[in-house]
Symmetry: none
């Protein structure tokens, strides 16, 4: 369900940074420290997208790229190259290496994720935009529509954003503050308890038929989209 991104990067600090930020953006991340490891890990499970450093120990990024393109499973997998300033040759710019896009280090994380999304949208649009699913709940961003076990669910704008946020990381518990930030925006001042009210409204709206309440209250911590139990 989450887009699966493989990060092939030998610089530990950068890899960690990427890992952390991409996870936060709702991607599932796997790391490889050099080209060899990268090629191996890609075999295990085909990623939805590969982030590839240009310079790598053992097998260079270019070579990894070439090999990936020869394998049927990864022939069409989007590859995003990371290059340092100065390595930005014509070859890179022309994407002659077989990569689909590249970014020059240092880069803003927001730029990177934007490019990742753009690539994914091209190949696997359902991963980035359109649709989030959890259990029998489907949220369609494009049409701004939510259904539960097929039946249409009407949500106000706030409840929609709330559910959207929950569905990006099901199971995770969010504090009221965090939800406030995510749904209302970082600089909004409203009563924290307002979150409760909207969670309540979301619950009521999602209660189609005799369906179970998909939102778990975690006392003194917050809420999560989750099985009860």
């Amino acid at each position: 369900m989450k887009p699966y991104v493989m990060v092939v990067e030998d610089e530990e600090a950068l890899a960690t940074l990427l890992d952390y930020n991409l996870e936060k953006e709702g991607f599932r991340v796997e790391r490889a420290a050099d080209g060899e490891e990268g090629l191996l890990k890609v075999e295990e499970e085909t990623p939805d997208l590969i982030l590839l450093d240009w310079m790598l120990p053992k097998v260079s990024g270019v070579e990894v790229c070439r090999q990936l393109r020869t394998r049927p499973e990864t022939r069409r997998t989007p590859i995003l190259m990371l290059t340092a300033r100065g390595e930005e040759t014509d070859k890179v710019r022309g994407l002659d290496t077989g990569a689909d896009d590249y970014v020059v280090k240092p880069f803003a994380m927001s730029e990177l994720t934007a490019r990742i999304r753009a690539l994914l949208r091209r190949t696997r649009p359902e991963l980035v935009d359109e649709r989030l699913e959890y259990a029998d709940i489907v949220l369609d961003r494009g049409s701004r529509r939510v259904t539960r076990s097929g039946r249409n669910v009407h949500l106000g704008p706030t409840e929609f954003r709330l559910l959207d946020f929950f569905m990006q990381r099901p199971g995770r518990v969010f504090s009221r503050e965090r939800l406030m930030d995510a749904v209302w925006g970082p600089n909004t001042y409203v009563e924290l308890r307002t979150v409760d009210v909207h969670v309540g409204r979301l619950r009521k709206a999602l209660k189609v038929g005799g369906a179970e309440d998909p939102i778990r209250t975690v006392r003194s911590a917050g809420y999560s989209l989750d099985q009860q139990a």
Copy 2:
């Protein structure tokens, strides 16, 4: 329980920003406005990590760093340097100062917290990791769930914190005073015996099926998460 971060930064605005953001990310933050104050405050309670500005009044960041490295309590405490562009000399880059990492101002808050987490993971993984395991008990901080041999265990907030603390150092015996500090906070005044009661509640909750009691009572000393001897 929360990682304790000391911020040594003379620029008020930046210090406030750091304080605010780190608190939001789940760190406990203490501030010092110059090197001298920093060295003093670190003596009171050893932080889990120190954020240190390169340029500081009274005692420079480099000097603070050097002195911290000579003290046994802080010899291994991770230090993250904050430098302005232009101060990014080879000395900084090589981390010859004794710091463990550095970031160049201005920086994205997400980058900073990622680096902080990376450093903490190296030294005190139990502080940052999402998931703690001991025998058949699994505690997941992100989803705030505890399971024992796969079965879900419901804990109240206090029992959750208590178990979390125990699981950071399994096998170790903690006095009631220590548990009080860790779980209730350093400035709480409740009956010491209350610890017994909560340990009891934790035991009861953990007793799923016919499972063994994972908490050992050490007469006249305290408790530990441990195999029964």
